[in-house]
């Protein structure tokens, strides 16, 4: 019970730290001071104190979009087990619910973007749904590999205790799907090389351009939700890299925290070292990630 409470608290409080770490790493690479690591917390507080401006073209869907997407991401976070504890909600086969809840969040974000009647948002929405077409099957192939490795169908078991008991012959498949999961994480959270979160031009944006017309508390909800989504995917990757089976909560939480921080730093390094891919090249990257996941799946099926 206590561990579930701690999981929920960590999920609610820690995520805004991650974009701050990424921006700090990018600043270090660029030779700048950069914003403080807690910048997103300050931004969220500032936004929550503001009023709101709504476009005359919009309907109730625009006002509902940020709320529904944040609610879906919060509900999805209830299925993820952190640091080897058990998740607050879990049932066999909840991987599908996890993936489809993220899909519901995407559905409403896209609708809220189309509601503004602006060509920018339409562009971003079109690109967002296109990249999800390639990322969703990859995610499910990753789930299949984990089902074969752990023999269990619930998210907290697949990414948790059962993974440490997995026979060694699946180690190769696991390495391959960690790479694929990393690329899917970059795609879902609109990081370089899929999208550039730093600019605000319509040529380079996917996620940023969809939320262009939101402001005030709505924008706070959206930024908060995006950071939680990044945290969840990194948490899943952390579980794949470092199995949590020691049974000692303190050690597990430190391992978990260290791995998530390390992964965030890796994302920051990738963002500083690479440029954004041309839009029409991104499907190739996602297809390559999918093929690598398929190779991992074929290896695990023998």
């Amino acid at each position: 019970m206590l561990t579930k409470l701690i999981s929920v608290l960590v999920t609610l409080v820690i995520p805004p730290l991650l974009p701050g770490i990424i921006n700090k790493i990018k600043a270090i690479f660029a030779g700048r001071q950069g914003p403080p690591v807690l910048q997103l917390y300050f931004d969220l507080f500032k936004l929550l104190k503001k009023g709101a401006v709504y476009s005359t073209t919009t309907t109730w869907i625009f006002r509902a979009g940020p709320i529904v997407s944040l609610a879906c991401i919060l509900m999805a976070s209830l299925f993820v087990a952190l640091a080897g504890a058990s998740s607050p909600l879990s049932f066999s086969g909840d991987v599908v619910a996890f993936a489809y809840l993220l899909g519901l969040a995407r559905f409403f974000t896209v609708l809220a973007a189309l509601d503004t009647g602006s060509s920018f948002e339409g562009m971003g929405a079109s690109r967002e749904v296109t990249f999800s077409i390639l990322a969703e099957p990859t995610l499910f192939i990753i789930f299949i590999v984990l089902v074969r490795c752990t023999g269990s169908l619930s998210l907290s078991a697949m990414f948790g205790q059962a993974l440490s008991l997995m026979p060694m012959k699946f180690a190769a498949s696991l390495a391959l799907i960690v790479f694929s999961l990393f690329v899917v994480c970059l795609a879902e959270n609109s990081r370089i090389p899929v999208d550039d979160p730093a600019t605000h031009l319509e040529l380079t944006m996917i996620h940023e351009v969809m939320v262009l017309d939101h402001g005030g508390p709505d924008l706070a909800f959206i930024l908060y939700g995006a950071s939680i989504k990044l945290f969840l995917l990194l948490a899943l990757m952390a579980h794949l890299i470092l199995p949590m089976d020691s049974g000692d909560p303190v050690r597990e939480w430190t391992y978990f925290g260290a791995t998530v921080a390390a992964l965030t730093i890796v994302i920051g390094i990738v963002e500083s070292a690479m440029a954004r891919l041309r839009m029409i090249r991104v499907p190739r990257l996602l297809t390559a990630a999918c093929m690598i996941a398929i190779v991992g799946m074929i290896l695990s099926l023998r």
Binding site: R281, P283, T287, M291, V295, I298, R302
Partner: protein
């Protein structure tokens, strides 16, 4: 030992996918070079780690040939012809990647049905060899620049070499010499051909060859 072999073989598959999906020719040549090095290192680790000086020498030769000499030749060919990038293949990069993934699956499916000696049944060597051969063929068939076709030919040879590793514990000198000569002759011919095509058409695209039709 066994894990190391598995990792090397998975690396071979990944280099194949890199060749199928990359745009810049430098990356493709480096990937094939890496593949050559990996396959050269393999005989040392393969049969339970028992190696003689003979095996060591063979590996050294193969790494030198496939990992350094032939890529150097190819890099020089690029520099002479001043080409940098691969054009869009006949079926598109994404479709090549998807087909490559399918061929990996096919390799695994086919190797499951072959009658192999017992110790080889669980190893990754046969599927990886078959997949490499098929992906080399895919590259030859779908690319338009003769340089990439040469790389495809090299991948094909690598696959056949890997397949040969299964059968022989020791590699008789004669077979090794034959294989090396085979590769060398092929590269030599391709290099000359490349030079002549470039002179004639000022481009390395195979499509221009159809201008020779009467």
């Amino acid at each position: 030992m066994d894990h190391l072999v598995q990792i090397i073989l998975i690396g071979v598959i990944l280099t194949n996918l890199v060749v199928l999906g990359s745009h810049p020719l430098n990356t493709c040549i480096r990937a094939v070079a890496l593949q050559g090095v990996a396959l050269g290192v393999l005989p040392i680790f393969l049969h339970g780690g028992e190696w003689s000086y003979h095996t060591f020498l063979i590996s050294f030769m193969i790494i030198g040939l496939k990992g350094f000499l032939i890529p150097a030749l190819l890099f020089r060919a690029i520099r002479d012809a001043v080409i940098r990038k691969e054009q869009e293949p006949l079926i598109g990069f994404t479709a090549s990647l998807i087909l490559g993934g399918g061929l990996v699956g096919l390799g695994f499916a086919v190797s499951g049905g072959l009658p192999l000696p017992a110790e080889m049944k669980s190893s990754l060597l046969v599927p990886v060899a078959l997949s490499t051969v098929m992906m080399g063929l895919l590259v030859i068939v779908t690319r338009t620049k003769i340089l990439t076709q040469t790389l495809g030919y090299l991948m094909l040879e690598n696959g056949i070499f890997a397949f040969g590793l299964i059968l022989t514990k020791e590699l008789p000198w004669l077979i090794e010499m034959g294989v090396s000569l085979d590769i060398f002759a092929g590269i030599f011919v391709m290099g000359t051909l490349m030079g002549h095509i470039n002179e004639e058409f000022n481009s390395l695209s195979v499509r221009k060859l159809s201008n020779l039709k009467g």
